[in-house]
Protein backbone atom coordinates (compact mmCIF):
# COMPACT_ATOMS: atom_id res chain seq x y z
CA UNK A 1 0.00 0.00 0.00
CA UNK A 2 2.72 2.36 0.98
CA UNK A 3 4.48 1.61 -2.30
CA UNK A 4 1.50 2.59 -4.38
CA UNK A 5 1.13 5.83 -2.49
CA UNK A 6 4.72 6.85 -3.00
CA UNK A 7 4.56 5.98 -6.71
CA UNK A 8 1.44 8.14 -7.18
CA UNK A 9 2.93 11.00 -5.24
CA UNK A 10 6.07 10.80 -7.29
CA UNK A 11 4.08 10.84 -10.52
CA UNK A 12 2.40 14.09 -9.54
CA UNK A 13 5.65 15.61 -8.57
CA UNK A 14 7.19 14.31 -11.76
CA UNK A 15 5.83 17.18 -13.79
CA UNK A 16 7.37 19.72 -11.47
CA UNK A 17 10.59 17.76 -11.08
CA UNK A 18 10.85 17.50 -14.83
CA UNK A 19 10.82 21.26 -15.12
CA UNK A 20 13.33 21.62 -12.33
CA UNK A 21 15.80 19.29 -13.98
CA UNK A 22 15.30 20.92 -17.33
CA UNK A 23 15.40 24.42 -15.90
CA UNK A 24 19.04 25.23 -16.66
CA UNK A 25 18.47 24.59 -20.33
CA UNK A 26 15.01 26.16 -20.35
CA UNK A 27 16.33 29.33 -18.74
CA UNK A 28 19.17 29.34 -21.22
CA UNK A 29 17.04 28.98 -24.31
CA UNK A 30 14.52 31.57 -23.20
CA UNK A 31 16.77 34.24 -21.75
CA UNK A 32 20.10 33.77 -23.46
CA UNK A 33 19.21 32.15 -26.73
CA UNK A 34 15.82 33.65 -27.30
CA UNK A 35 16.78 37.13 -28.43
CA UNK A 36 19.42 36.17 -31.02
CA UNK A 37 17.28 33.42 -32.50
CA UNK A 38 14.15 35.49 -32.76
CA UNK A 39 16.21 38.40 -34.03
CA UNK A 40 17.51 36.29 -36.87
CA UNK A 41 13.95 35.33 -37.76
CA UNK A 42 13.00 38.98 -37.84
CA UNK A 43 16.06 39.82 -39.94
CA UNK A 44 15.00 37.24 -42.51
CA UNK A 45 12.04 39.47 -43.31
CA UNK A 46 14.24 42.50 -43.77
CA UNK A 47 16.91 43.86 -46.02
CA UNK A 48 20.00 44.17 -43.86
CA UNK A 49 23.54 44.87 -45.00
CA UNK A 50 24.96 44.78 -41.49
CA UNK A 51 25.87 48.46 -41.55
CA UNK A 52 22.60 50.39 -41.83
CA UNK A 53 19.51 49.42 -39.86
CA UNK A 54 17.36 46.59 -41.24
CA UNK A 55 14.37 47.59 -43.38
CA UNK A 56 11.24 45.48 -43.44
CA UNK A 57 10.47 43.79 -46.77
CA UNK A 58 8.19 40.96 -45.75
CA UNK A 59 8.52 37.71 -47.67
CA UNK A 60 10.65 39.16 -50.50
CA UNK A 61 13.82 37.31 -49.51
CA UNK A 62 11.98 34.03 -49.50
CA UNK A 63 10.25 34.57 -52.81
CA UNK A 64 13.48 35.60 -54.49
CA UNK A 65 15.24 32.50 -53.20
CA UNK A 66 12.50 30.20 -54.41
CA UNK A 67 11.72 31.84 -57.74
CA UNK A 68 14.68 33.83 -59.03
CA UNK A 69 17.84 32.21 -57.73
CA UNK A 70 19.37 29.39 -59.75
CA UNK A 71 22.22 28.87 -57.35
CA UNK A 72 19.82 28.30 -54.44
CA UNK A 73 18.53 25.07 -55.97
CA UNK A 74 21.97 23.92 -57.03
CA UNK A 75 23.37 24.38 -53.55
CA UNK A 76 20.39 22.62 -52.03
CA UNK A 77 20.88 19.66 -54.34
CA UNK A 78 24.60 19.49 -53.50
CA UNK A 79 23.76 19.31 -49.83
CA UNK A 80 21.09 16.67 -50.32
CA UNK A 81 23.48 14.55 -52.32
CA UNK A 82 26.03 14.85 -49.55
CA UNK A 83 23.56 13.93 -46.81
CA UNK A 84 22.18 10.93 -48.62
CA UNK A 85 25.55 9.33 -49.19
CA UNK A 86 27.66 10.58 -46.31
CA UNK A 87 25.31 9.48 -43.55
CA UNK A 88 25.14 5.75 -44.30
CA UNK A 89 28.85 5.68 -45.09
CA UNK A 90 29.72 7.57 -41.94
CA UNK A 91 27.64 5.27 -39.76
CA UNK A 92 29.19 2.23 -41.34
CA UNK A 93 32.79 3.35 -40.88
CA UNK A 94 32.22 4.49 -37.30
CA UNK A 95 30.61 1.22 -36.34
CA UNK A 96 33.29 -0.87 -38.02
CA UNK A 97 36.04 1.06 -36.26
CA UNK A 98 34.33 0.63 -32.90
CA UNK A 99 33.77 -3.08 -33.46
CA UNK A 100 37.38 -3.57 -34.41
CA UNK A 101 38.71 -1.68 -31.45
CA UNK A 102 36.41 -2.84 -28.67
CA UNK A 103 38.69 -5.50 -27.31
CA UNK A 104 41.43 -5.89 -24.79
CA UNK A 105 44.23 -6.82 -27.17
CA UNK A 106 47.39 -4.97 -26.24
CA UNK A 107 47.98 -1.77 -28.10
CA UNK A 108 44.37 -1.06 -28.95
CA UNK A 109 44.63 2.14 -26.98
CA UNK A 110 47.22 3.43 -29.39
CA UNK A 111 44.99 2.66 -32.36
CA UNK A 112 41.96 4.22 -30.74
CA UNK A 113 43.97 7.37 -30.22
CA UNK A 114 45.31 7.25 -33.77
CA UNK A 115 41.87 6.95 -35.31
CA UNK A 116 40.69 9.84 -33.19
CA UNK A 117 43.69 11.97 -34.21
CA UNK A 118 42.05 13.65 -37.20
CA UNK A 119 39.49 15.17 -34.88
CA UNK A 120 42.27 16.77 -32.86
CA UNK A 121 44.69 17.77 -35.57
CA UNK A 122 44.23 21.11 -37.26
CA UNK A 123 42.20 21.16 -40.43
CA UNK A 124 45.21 22.58 -42.26
CA UNK A 125 47.12 19.38 -41.65
CA UNK A 126 44.12 17.30 -42.71
CA UNK A 127 43.88 19.28 -45.93
CA UNK A 128 47.47 18.40 -46.64
CA UNK A 129 46.74 14.74 -46.10
CA UNK A 130 43.83 14.81 -48.50
CA UNK A 131 45.92 16.59 -51.10
CA UNK A 132 48.66 14.05 -50.69
CA UNK A 133 46.15 11.27 -51.18
CA UNK A 134 43.71 12.60 -53.74
CA UNK A 135 45.74 14.95 -55.92
CA UNK A 136 45.16 13.69 -59.47
CA UNK A 137 48.73 14.20 -60.64
CA UNK A 138 50.87 13.37 -57.66
CA UNK A 139 48.50 11.87 -55.13
CA UNK A 140 49.11 8.44 -53.66
CA UNK A 141 45.70 7.03 -54.48
CA UNK A 142 46.03 7.60 -58.20
CA UNK A 143 49.53 6.15 -58.12
CA UNK A 144 48.22 3.00 -56.50
CA UNK A 145 45.31 2.80 -58.90
CA UNK A 146 47.54 3.38 -61.93
CA UNK A 147 47.67 -0.29 -62.97
CA UNK A 148 43.88 -0.43 -62.81
CA UNK A 149 43.57 2.68 -64.92
CA UNK A 150 45.92 1.15 -67.48
CA UNK A 151 44.05 -2.14 -67.39
CA UNK A 152 40.72 -0.56 -68.21
CA UNK A 153 42.30 2.06 -70.45
CA UNK A 154 40.64 4.90 -68.57
CA UNK A 155 41.76 8.36 -67.58
CA UNK A 156 42.86 8.67 -63.97
CA UNK A 157 40.07 9.94 -61.75
CA UNK A 158 40.33 13.63 -61.09
CA UNK A 159 38.77 13.39 -57.66
CA UNK A 160 38.16 16.90 -56.36
CA UNK A 161 39.18 18.55 -59.64
CA UNK A 162 36.22 17.23 -61.64
CA UNK A 163 32.62 18.25 -61.16
CA UNK A 164 31.44 14.66 -61.50
CA UNK A 165 33.56 13.27 -58.69
CA UNK A 166 34.17 16.21 -56.38
CA UNK A 167 31.23 15.64 -54.06
CA UNK A 168 32.08 11.99 -53.63
CA UNK A 169 35.69 12.87 -52.95
CA UNK A 170 34.73 15.29 -50.22
CA UNK A 171 32.49 12.63 -48.68
CA UNK A 172 35.42 10.23 -48.59
CA UNK A 173 37.55 12.88 -47.00
CA UNK A 174 34.89 13.44 -44.39
CA UNK A 175 35.22 9.83 -43.28
CA UNK A 176 38.44 10.66 -41.53
CA UNK A 177 36.47 12.19 -38.71
CA UNK A 178 34.64 8.92 -38.04
CA UNK A 179 36.81 8.71 -34.94
CA UNK A 180 34.36 10.97 -33.19
CA UNK A 181 31.44 8.61 -33.63
CA UNK A 182 33.72 5.69 -32.85
CA UNK A 183 34.27 7.10 -29.37
CA UNK A 184 30.54 7.33 -28.77
CA UNK A 185 30.01 3.74 -29.87
CA UNK A 186 32.87 2.55 -27.67
CA UNK A 187 31.31 4.29 -24.70
CA UNK A 188 27.96 2.70 -25.40
CA UNK A 189 29.52 -0.72 -25.76
CA UNK A 190 30.78 -0.50 -22.19
CA UNK A 191 27.20 -0.64 -21.01
CA UNK A 192 26.63 -4.01 -22.60
CA UNK A 193 26.72 -6.52 -19.77
CA UNK A 194 29.62 -8.91 -20.02
CA UNK A 195 27.36 -11.69 -18.86
CA UNK A 196 25.52 -11.65 -22.18
CA UNK A 197 28.72 -12.41 -24.05
CA UNK A 198 29.68 -15.04 -21.57
CA UNK A 199 26.47 -16.96 -21.97
CA UNK A 200 26.75 -16.60 -25.73
CA UNK A 201 30.23 -18.10 -25.57
CA UNK A 202 28.85 -21.01 -23.61
CA UNK A 203 26.26 -21.54 -26.31
CA UNK A 204 29.07 -21.67 -28.86
CA UNK A 205 28.35 -18.43 -30.66
CA UNK A 206 31.01 -17.03 -33.01
CA UNK A 207 32.08 -13.40 -33.43
CA UNK A 208 29.53 -12.64 -36.12
CA UNK A 209 26.62 -14.02 -34.16
CA UNK A 210 27.65 -12.17 -31.04
CA UNK A 211 28.03 -8.96 -32.99
CA UNK A 212 24.74 -9.10 -34.82
CA UNK A 213 22.64 -10.54 -32.03
CA UNK A 214 24.07 -8.78 -29.01
CA UNK A 215 26.40 -5.89 -29.77
CA UNK A 216 24.62 -4.11 -32.58
CA UNK A 217 21.11 -4.30 -31.13
CA UNK A 218 22.36 -2.91 -27.84
CA UNK A 219 24.22 -0.17 -29.66
CA UNK A 220 21.15 1.13 -31.38
CA UNK A 221 20.67 4.13 -29.06
CA UNK A 222 24.04 5.52 -30.06
CA UNK A 223 23.68 4.48 -33.69
CA UNK A 224 20.42 6.36 -33.74
CA UNK A 225 22.11 9.32 -32.09
CA UNK A 226 24.84 9.43 -34.72
CA UNK A 227 22.20 9.08 -37.40
CA UNK A 228 20.24 12.09 -36.21
CA UNK A 229 23.40 14.11 -35.63
CA UNK A 230 24.53 13.03 -39.07
CA UNK A 231 21.41 14.55 -40.55
CA UNK A 232 21.71 17.76 -38.60
CA UNK A 233 25.42 18.11 -39.28
CA UNK A 234 25.25 16.84 -42.83
CA UNK A 235 22.87 19.56 -43.91
CA UNK A 236 25.33 22.14 -42.67
CA UNK A 237 28.36 20.73 -44.50
CA UNK A 238 30.61 23.63 -45.45
CA UNK A 239 34.13 23.82 -44.04
CA UNK A 240 35.69 21.07 -46.10
CA UNK A 241 34.55 22.65 -49.36
CA UNK A 242 35.58 26.10 -48.17
CA UNK A 243 39.10 24.90 -47.60
CA UNK A 244 39.60 22.35 -50.37
CA UNK A 245 37.56 23.31 -53.40
CA UNK A 246 36.15 26.78 -52.94
CA UNK A 247 32.78 25.35 -53.86
CA UNK A 248 33.95 24.19 -57.26
CA UNK A 249 34.55 22.91 -59.79
CA UNK A 250 31.51 24.39 -61.46
CA UNK A 251 29.82 24.86 -58.08
CA UNK A 252 29.58 21.09 -57.69
CA UNK A 253 30.66 21.34 -54.06
CA UNK A 254 28.91 24.64 -53.40
CA UNK A 255 26.82 23.49 -50.49
CA UNK A 256 23.79 25.25 -49.13
CA UNK A 257 25.66 26.42 -46.01
CA UNK A 258 28.47 27.72 -48.23
CA UNK A 259 26.05 29.77 -50.29
CA UNK A 260 24.55 31.08 -47.08
CA UNK A 261 27.98 32.05 -45.84
CA UNK A 262 28.75 33.90 -49.07
CA UNK A 263 25.43 35.71 -49.01
CA UNK A 264 26.33 37.03 -45.62
CA UNK A 265 30.06 37.62 -45.81
CA UNK A 266 30.62 38.73 -49.39
CA UNK A 267 27.22 39.97 -50.63
CA UNK A 268 26.45 41.63 -47.30
CA UNK A 269 22.91 40.34 -47.68
CA UNK A 270 22.25 39.33 -44.09
CA UNK A 271 18.49 39.33 -44.53
CA UNK A 272 18.71 36.85 -47.38
CA UNK A 273 21.21 34.73 -45.45
CA UNK A 274 18.88 34.60 -42.46
CA UNK A 275 16.04 33.56 -44.73
CA UNK A 276 18.21 30.75 -46.05
CA UNK A 277 19.01 29.70 -42.50
CA UNK A 278 15.37 29.50 -41.54
CA UNK A 279 14.44 27.58 -44.66
CA UNK A 280 17.15 25.09 -43.79
CA UNK A 281 15.97 24.90 -40.22
CA UNK A 282 12.41 24.08 -41.18
CA UNK A 283 13.58 21.50 -43.70
CA UNK A 284 15.95 19.73 -41.30
CA UNK A 285 13.41 19.92 -38.50
CA UNK A 286 10.78 18.16 -40.58
CA UNK A 287 13.20 15.45 -41.62
CA UNK A 288 14.47 15.01 -38.07
CA UNK A 289 10.99 14.87 -36.58
CA UNK A 290 10.21 12.19 -39.11
CA UNK A 291 13.38 10.29 -38.27
CA UNK A 292 12.61 10.52 -34.57
CA UNK A 293 9.46 8.50 -35.21
CA UNK A 294 11.77 5.68 -36.17
CA UNK A 295 13.11 5.78 -32.65
CA UNK A 296 10.53 3.43 -31.24
CA UNK A 297 10.88 0.89 -33.99
CA UNK A 298 14.59 0.83 -34.42
CA UNK A 299 16.12 1.52 -31.07
CA UNK A 300 16.37 -1.10 -28.39
CA UNK A 301 16.04 0.53 -25.05
CA UNK A 302 16.50 -0.87 -21.60
CA UNK A 303 12.93 0.19 -21.02
CA UNK A 304 9.91 1.50 -22.83
CA UNK A 305 10.27 4.94 -24.42
Amino acid sequence: MAEKKSINKLKKQENLIGYIFASPWLIGIIFLGGFPILASLYISFTNYDMVSAPTWIGLKNYTILFTNDSIFWKSLWNTFYHVMIAIPLGLLVGIILALLLNNKVKGMGVYRTLFYLPNVVSIVAMTLLWMWLFQPSFGIINEILDPIYKLFDMEPLRWYQAASSAKMTLILMGLWSAGGSMVIYLAQMQDIPAILYESADIDGANWFQKTFKITLPLMTPSIFFNFIMGIIGGFQVFTIAYIMTGGGPARSTYYYAYYLFDKMMTDNAMGMASAMAWILLVLVLIITAFALRLNKRVVYLGEEG
Partner: protein, 289 residues
Protein backbone atom coordinates in the same frame (compact mmCIF):
# COMPACT_ATOMS: atom_id res chain seq x y z
CA UNK B 1 21.19 -31.80 -26.40
CA UNK B 2 24.71 -32.94 -25.88
CA UNK B 3 27.52 -30.79 -27.22
CA UNK B 4 30.22 -32.84 -28.71
CA UNK B 5 33.61 -31.83 -27.57
CA UNK B 6 35.76 -31.35 -30.62
CA UNK B 7 39.45 -30.94 -30.22
CA UNK B 8 40.35 -27.63 -31.92
CA UNK B 9 43.33 -27.45 -34.20
CA UNK B 10 44.85 -24.56 -32.25
CA UNK B 11 44.67 -23.89 -28.58
CA UNK B 12 42.61 -20.99 -27.41
CA UNK B 13 45.77 -19.05 -26.65
CA UNK B 14 47.09 -19.59 -30.14
CA UNK B 15 43.79 -18.54 -31.69
CA UNK B 16 43.80 -15.38 -29.63
CA UNK B 17 47.30 -14.60 -30.77
CA UNK B 18 46.48 -15.12 -34.44
CA UNK B 19 43.46 -12.87 -34.08
CA UNK B 20 45.63 -10.24 -32.45
CA UNK B 21 48.22 -10.38 -35.22
CA UNK B 22 45.62 -10.05 -37.98
CA UNK B 23 43.99 -7.21 -36.12
CA UNK B 24 47.26 -5.38 -35.69
CA UNK B 25 48.10 -5.86 -39.35
CA UNK B 26 44.82 -4.41 -40.61
CA UNK B 27 44.84 -1.57 -38.14
CA UNK B 28 48.44 -0.63 -38.76
CA UNK B 29 47.84 -0.16 -42.46
CA UNK B 30 44.65 1.81 -41.91
CA UNK B 31 46.12 3.96 -39.22
CA UNK B 32 48.96 5.30 -41.31
CA UNK B 33 46.52 7.49 -43.19
CA UNK B 34 45.38 8.80 -39.84
CA UNK B 35 48.88 9.29 -38.56
CA UNK B 36 50.20 11.16 -41.57
CA UNK B 37 48.81 14.64 -40.83
CA UNK B 38 50.13 14.51 -37.31
CA UNK B 39 53.56 13.40 -38.50
CA UNK B 40 53.58 16.16 -41.09
CA UNK B 41 52.76 18.72 -38.41
CA UNK B 42 55.54 17.53 -36.15
CA UNK B 43 58.09 17.38 -38.96
CA UNK B 44 57.10 20.83 -40.21
CA UNK B 45 57.58 22.15 -36.70
CA UNK B 46 61.13 20.83 -36.78
CA UNK B 47 62.14 22.22 -40.16
CA UNK B 48 63.82 25.44 -41.18
CA UNK B 49 61.96 27.82 -43.50
CA UNK B 50 64.31 26.89 -46.35
CA UNK B 51 63.43 23.24 -45.94
CA UNK B 52 59.76 24.14 -46.03
CA UNK B 53 60.33 25.58 -49.49
CA UNK B 54 61.16 22.11 -50.72
CA UNK B 55 57.63 20.98 -50.07
CA UNK B 56 56.95 17.29 -50.35
CA UNK B 57 60.44 16.68 -51.69
CA UNK B 58 61.73 16.97 -48.17
CA UNK B 59 59.57 14.97 -45.83
CA UNK B 60 61.93 14.54 -42.91
CA UNK B 61 63.69 17.46 -41.27
CA UNK B 62 67.42 17.05 -41.67
CA UNK B 63 68.36 19.00 -38.57
CA UNK B 64 65.47 19.09 -36.09
CA UNK B 65 64.90 22.64 -34.93
CA UNK B 66 63.73 21.94 -31.39
CA UNK B 67 64.23 25.61 -30.79
CA UNK B 68 61.09 26.26 -32.79
CA UNK B 69 59.04 24.99 -29.91
CA UNK B 70 60.76 27.35 -27.54
CA UNK B 71 60.36 30.23 -29.95
CA UNK B 72 56.67 29.46 -30.43
CA UNK B 73 56.16 29.58 -26.70
CA UNK B 74 58.08 32.79 -26.16
CA UNK B 75 56.78 34.76 -29.13
CA UNK B 76 53.22 34.83 -27.89
CA UNK B 77 52.25 35.35 -24.25
CA UNK B 78 51.93 31.60 -24.03
CA UNK B 79 51.36 31.27 -20.30
CA UNK B 80 48.83 34.07 -20.15
CA UNK B 81 46.91 32.50 -22.99
CA UNK B 82 47.28 29.09 -21.35
CA UNK B 83 45.82 30.39 -18.12
CA UNK B 84 42.93 31.95 -20.03
CA UNK B 85 42.29 28.77 -21.97
CA UNK B 86 42.28 26.76 -18.76
CA UNK B 87 39.88 29.13 -17.05
CA UNK B 88 37.41 29.10 -19.88
CA UNK B 89 37.68 25.38 -20.54
CA UNK B 90 37.41 24.55 -16.86
CA UNK B 91 34.21 26.47 -16.40
CA UNK B 92 32.70 25.30 -19.64
CA UNK B 93 33.34 21.62 -18.93
CA UNK B 94 31.87 21.98 -15.44
CA UNK B 95 28.89 23.95 -16.68
CA UNK B 96 28.21 21.62 -19.55
CA UNK B 97 28.41 18.50 -17.41
CA UNK B 98 26.04 20.11 -14.97
CA UNK B 99 23.38 21.42 -17.33
CA UNK B 100 23.60 18.63 -19.88
CA UNK B 101 23.14 15.84 -17.35
CA UNK B 102 20.19 17.42 -15.59
CA UNK B 103 18.46 18.33 -18.83
CA UNK B 104 19.14 14.91 -20.33
CA UNK B 105 17.60 13.30 -17.27
CA UNK B 106 14.51 15.45 -17.71
CA UNK B 107 14.22 14.45 -21.36
CA UNK B 108 14.80 10.77 -20.77
CA UNK B 109 13.40 9.64 -17.45
CA UNK B 110 10.80 12.19 -16.54
CA UNK B 111 7.43 12.97 -17.98
CA UNK B 112 6.46 16.61 -18.01
CA UNK B 113 4.18 18.79 -20.04
CA UNK B 114 5.65 19.89 -23.36
CA UNK B 115 8.68 17.66 -23.00
CA UNK B 116 8.70 16.31 -26.53
CA UNK B 117 8.07 19.71 -28.05
CA UNK B 118 10.94 21.25 -26.13
CA UNK B 119 13.10 18.33 -27.23
CA UNK B 120 12.45 19.25 -30.83
CA UNK B 121 13.24 22.87 -30.06
CA UNK B 122 16.52 21.76 -28.58
CA UNK B 123 17.38 19.80 -31.69
CA UNK B 124 16.37 22.79 -33.75
CA UNK B 125 18.96 24.96 -32.03
CA UNK B 126 21.61 22.80 -33.68
CA UNK B 127 20.24 23.52 -37.10
CA UNK B 128 21.02 27.23 -37.17
CA UNK B 129 24.48 28.22 -38.44
CA UNK B 130 26.21 30.35 -35.84
CA UNK B 131 27.06 33.18 -38.24
CA UNK B 132 23.42 34.03 -38.66
CA UNK B 133 22.88 34.72 -34.97
CA UNK B 134 26.33 36.13 -34.40
CA UNK B 135 25.51 39.79 -34.68
CA UNK B 136 22.29 39.68 -32.61
CA UNK B 137 24.17 37.69 -29.97
CA UNK B 138 26.94 40.25 -29.91
CA UNK B 139 24.45 43.09 -29.61
CA UNK B 140 22.68 41.22 -26.81
CA UNK B 141 25.87 40.82 -24.80
CA UNK B 142 26.76 44.40 -25.52
CA UNK B 143 23.43 45.58 -24.13
CA UNK B 144 23.72 43.59 -20.90
CA UNK B 145 27.28 44.74 -20.41
CA UNK B 146 29.05 41.41 -20.63
CA UNK B 147 31.48 42.45 -23.33
CA UNK B 148 34.94 42.96 -21.91
CA UNK B 149 34.50 39.99 -19.60
CA UNK B 150 34.70 36.27 -20.04
CA UNK B 151 31.02 35.83 -19.22
CA UNK B 152 29.71 35.40 -22.80
CA UNK B 153 31.89 32.34 -23.15
CA UNK B 154 31.28 30.83 -19.75
CA UNK B 155 27.75 31.49 -18.57
CA UNK B 156 25.87 29.81 -21.47
CA UNK B 157 27.56 26.49 -20.62
CA UNK B 158 25.79 26.42 -17.27
CA UNK B 159 22.48 26.88 -19.02
CA UNK B 160 22.85 24.29 -21.69
CA UNK B 161 24.27 26.71 -24.24
CA UNK B 162 26.00 24.85 -27.02
CA UNK B 163 25.19 21.63 -25.18
CA UNK B 164 22.35 20.36 -27.34
CA UNK B 165 24.65 17.72 -28.78
CA UNK B 166 25.60 16.48 -25.32
CA UNK B 167 22.06 16.66 -23.96
CA UNK B 168 20.89 14.46 -26.81
CA UNK B 169 23.81 12.08 -26.31
CA UNK B 170 23.24 11.71 -22.60
CA UNK B 171 19.53 11.29 -23.15
CA UNK B 172 20.24 8.27 -25.31
CA UNK B 173 22.55 6.80 -22.69
CA UNK B 174 20.11 7.42 -19.87
CA UNK B 175 17.36 5.80 -21.85
CA UNK B 176 19.49 2.71 -22.10
CA UNK B 177 19.52 2.34 -18.35
CA UNK B 178 16.71 -0.06 -17.44
CA UNK B 179 13.51 1.21 -15.91
CA UNK B 180 13.59 -1.56 -13.35
CA UNK B 181 16.54 0.04 -11.62
CA UNK B 182 14.87 3.39 -11.19
CA UNK B 183 11.55 1.86 -10.27
CA UNK B 184 12.97 -0.32 -7.54
CA UNK B 185 14.67 2.77 -6.15
CA UNK B 186 11.37 4.62 -6.14
CA UNK B 187 9.75 1.75 -4.32
CA UNK B 188 12.51 2.01 -1.77
CA UNK B 189 11.44 5.61 -1.23
CA UNK B 190 14.08 7.45 -3.20
CA UNK B 191 13.28 10.79 -4.82
CA UNK B 192 14.45 11.80 -8.26
CA UNK B 193 17.44 13.77 -7.02
CA UNK B 194 18.73 10.70 -5.29
CA UNK B 195 18.06 8.58 -8.35
CA UNK B 196 19.93 11.08 -10.45
CA UNK B 197 23.02 11.23 -8.27
CA UNK B 198 23.14 7.67 -7.00
CA UNK B 199 22.04 5.70 -10.03
CA UNK B 200 22.06 7.60 -13.30
CA UNK B 201 25.37 9.39 -13.00
CA UNK B 202 27.48 6.52 -11.67
CA UNK B 203 26.17 4.19 -14.35
CA UNK B 204 26.95 6.69 -17.09
CA UNK B 205 30.64 7.18 -16.51
CA UNK B 206 31.69 6.36 -20.09
CA UNK B 207 29.11 8.78 -21.43
CA UNK B 208 30.14 11.48 -18.94
CA UNK B 209 33.76 10.99 -19.90
CA UNK B 210 32.82 11.35 -23.54
CA UNK B 211 30.93 14.55 -22.89
CA UNK B 212 33.77 15.93 -20.82
CA UNK B 213 36.36 15.03 -23.43
CA UNK B 214 34.42 16.44 -26.36
CA UNK B 215 33.58 19.63 -24.50
CA UNK B 216 37.19 20.05 -23.51
CA UNK B 217 38.38 19.63 -27.05
CA UNK B 218 35.79 21.86 -28.64
CA UNK B 219 36.38 24.69 -26.19
CA UNK B 220 40.14 24.33 -26.11
CA UNK B 221 40.36 24.65 -29.89
CA UNK B 222 37.68 27.27 -30.37
CA UNK B 223 39.20 30.48 -31.64
CA UNK B 224 36.13 32.07 -33.14
CA UNK B 225 34.10 32.46 -29.95
CA UNK B 226 36.98 34.03 -28.03
CA UNK B 227 37.93 36.18 -31.02
CA UNK B 228 34.52 37.76 -31.30
CA UNK B 229 33.42 37.89 -27.68
CA UNK B 230 36.61 38.63 -25.78
CA UNK B 231 37.19 42.34 -26.25
CA UNK B 232 40.01 42.39 -23.74
CA UNK B 233 43.21 40.98 -25.24
CA UNK B 234 44.36 40.01 -21.74
CA UNK B 235 41.65 37.37 -21.80
CA UNK B 236 42.71 35.82 -25.06
CA UNK B 237 43.20 32.07 -25.33
CA UNK B 238 45.79 29.80 -26.92
CA UNK B 239 43.54 29.19 -29.90
CA UNK B 240 43.64 32.89 -30.78
CA UNK B 241 47.35 33.09 -30.09
CA UNK B 242 47.94 30.40 -32.65
CA UNK B 243 46.44 32.63 -35.34
CA UNK B 244 49.12 35.28 -34.91
CA UNK B 245 51.61 33.07 -36.70
CA UNK B 246 49.62 33.33 -39.87
CA UNK B 247 50.22 36.69 -41.40
CA UNK B 248 49.11 38.27 -44.61
CA UNK B 249 52.33 37.29 -46.34
CA UNK B 250 52.58 33.64 -45.40
CA UNK B 251 54.05 33.80 -41.96
CA UNK B 252 56.18 31.31 -40.12
CA UNK B 253 54.67 27.95 -40.90
CA UNK B 254 57.27 26.18 -38.83
CA UNK B 255 56.44 28.17 -35.70
CA UNK B 256 52.75 27.79 -36.37
CA UNK B 257 53.06 24.03 -36.52
CA UNK B 258 55.19 23.99 -33.39
CA UNK B 259 52.56 25.96 -31.52
CA UNK B 260 49.79 23.77 -32.98
CA UNK B 261 51.52 20.60 -31.83
CA UNK B 262 51.92 21.98 -28.33
CA UNK B 263 48.30 23.06 -28.19
CA UNK B 264 47.16 19.68 -29.43
CA UNK B 265 48.96 17.72 -26.75
CA UNK B 266 46.54 18.15 -23.82
CA UNK B 267 43.63 16.84 -25.84
CA UNK B 268 45.61 13.85 -27.04
CA UNK B 269 46.89 13.00 -23.60
CA UNK B 270 43.48 13.32 -22.03
CA UNK B 271 41.99 11.21 -24.76
CA UNK B 272 44.58 8.50 -24.37
CA UNK B 273 43.90 8.17 -20.66
CA UNK B 274 40.17 8.56 -21.00
CA UNK B 275 39.79 5.81 -23.54
CA UNK B 276 41.80 3.57 -21.24
CA UNK B 277 39.20 3.86 -18.56
CA UNK B 278 36.43 3.37 -21.08
CA UNK B 279 37.58 -0.06 -21.96
CA UNK B 280 39.50 -1.37 -19.05
CA UNK B 281 37.76 0.17 -16.11
CA UNK B 282 34.06 -0.04 -16.14
CA UNK B 283 32.06 -3.18 -15.74
CA UNK B 284 28.35 -3.16 -15.55
CA UNK B 285 26.82 -5.48 -13.03
CA UNK B 286 23.48 -6.46 -11.68
CA UNK B 287 21.20 -6.57 -14.62
CA UNK B 288 18.70 -8.99 -16.02
CA UNK B 289 19.42 -12.33 -14.53
Amino acid sequence: MVDEYKKPRFTKKQRERIKAIILHFVLAIASFAFLFPFLWMVFTALKTPQELLQGFNQFFPSDPQWGNFVEAVTKIPFFLYLKNSLIIVGFVVLGTLFSATTTAYAFSKLKWKGRDKWFLVMLATMMIPIQVILIPTYIFYSQIGWLGTRLPLIVPAFFGGGAAFYIFLLRQFFKGIPKELTESAIIDGANHFQIFFRIMLPLSKPALLTVGLFTFMATWNDYFGPLIFLSNPDHWTLAIGLRSFQTQFGGRYDLMMAASVLIMMPTLIIFFFAQKSFIEGITFTGIKG
